[in-house]
């Protein structure tokens, strides 16, 4: 900082010892204040974020449960109803992302909008839409899997490993 001043402006008088001490005390005070602010600031944010993630993630799950109940009362068994619900939720997530609504929800909800399967749909549509101008192969189709790709890769690896372990333990 001091060096910059010398080069930029006209040459300054060298600081007296008292001024140097005062300056150092000032920067020290600033650092102490910054540390204090850092230690205080994140706490309310963590609590608010956690609550928002809880109620929005919970609401998405509750909506999915309503859809599941509709499917089971229509005669689907538990497993098929769950699959059908996933399809509907993926559709809702993709559609709301297209409309630009899901990202607004995400700003508040954080993990509450990422972790439900609607967030997985969002992670597919958002980059695909963004890179559309790069074409339908390298733009849309390739970018769809920016985040979904790793999810599928690790999901498949773990599931095959589980299968192999189960097979050889049997």
């Amino acid at each position: 900082m001091a060096d910059n001043n010398k080069q930029a402006g006209p040459p300054k008088k060298p600081l007296t010892l008292a001024e140097q001490v005062k300056q150092q005390k000032q920067t020290y005070d600033q650092q102490a204040y910054q540390r204090l602010a850092d230690s205080v600031k994140p706490r309310p944010r963590v609590v608010v974020n956690a609550l928002n993630a809880f109620w929005i993630g919970g609401s998405i799950s509750a909506l999915a449960q309503v859809i599941t109940l509709v499917f089971t009362s229509a005669g689907l068994n538990t497993r098929d109803a769950a699959s059908a619900t996933v399809i509907i939720m993926v559709f809702i997530g993709a559609f709301l992302t297209g409309l630009g609504i899901y990202d607004e929800i995400g700003k508040v909800a954080g993990a509450g909008s990422i972790i439900p399967i609607t967030g997985f749909a969002n992670s597919i549509v958002a980059p695909a839409m963004e890179y559309k101008r790069e074409g339908f192969v390298f733009g849309v189709a390739a970018r769809m899997f920016n985040i979904a790709g790793p999810v599928l890769v690790y999901g498949f690896i773990v599931s095959v490993l589980i299968g192999l372990i189960a097979y050889f333990l049997k």
Binding site: A50, A94, I114, G163
Partner: protein, 118 residues
């Protein structure tokens, strides 16, 4: 009643994810959360710990991405019982097929139909 339980369990799973994002010293991105919850869900499921959560929470446990991991794991385990080694490879993806196909089809359609804002 099942709707309330779905709200609570689904909310709690998201709450855990949010706390991981906010309280760990690493830069945890949404991609890390999704990958972590899929693998975590699959492992918990294989150990028999995720099934009870699905019984209690219904969609609250199956709609979070950890439920997708649970789906993969259970599909694999059942297929291993039925078909042996072949099932280890085919079971998980078969079980997850509906969700994956829906994600690809709807994801592609929406990305073609809509343009990003701003």
């Amino acid at each position: 009643m099942s709707i309330v339980m779905a709200f609570l369990i689904g909310g709690l799973i998201c709450l855990v994810g949010q706390l991981i994002m906010d309280l760990t010293p690493y830069k945890v991105t949404p991609a890390h959360i999704l990958v972590g919850f899929v693998t975590g869900g699959a492992i918990l499921s294989a150990l028999g710990l995720y099934g009870p959560l699905v019984k209690i929470g219904g969609a609250g446990a199956t709609i979070p991405i950890s439920g997708f991991g649970h789906n993969l794991a259970q599909g694999t385990l059942e297929a291993v019982q039925a078909k042996g080694l072949l099932g280890a490879f085919s079971g998980g993806i078969t079980a997850g097929a509906a969700g994956i196909a829906a994600a690809v089809i709807f994801g592609f359609t929406m990305a073609v139909l809509f343009n990003p804002r701003g």
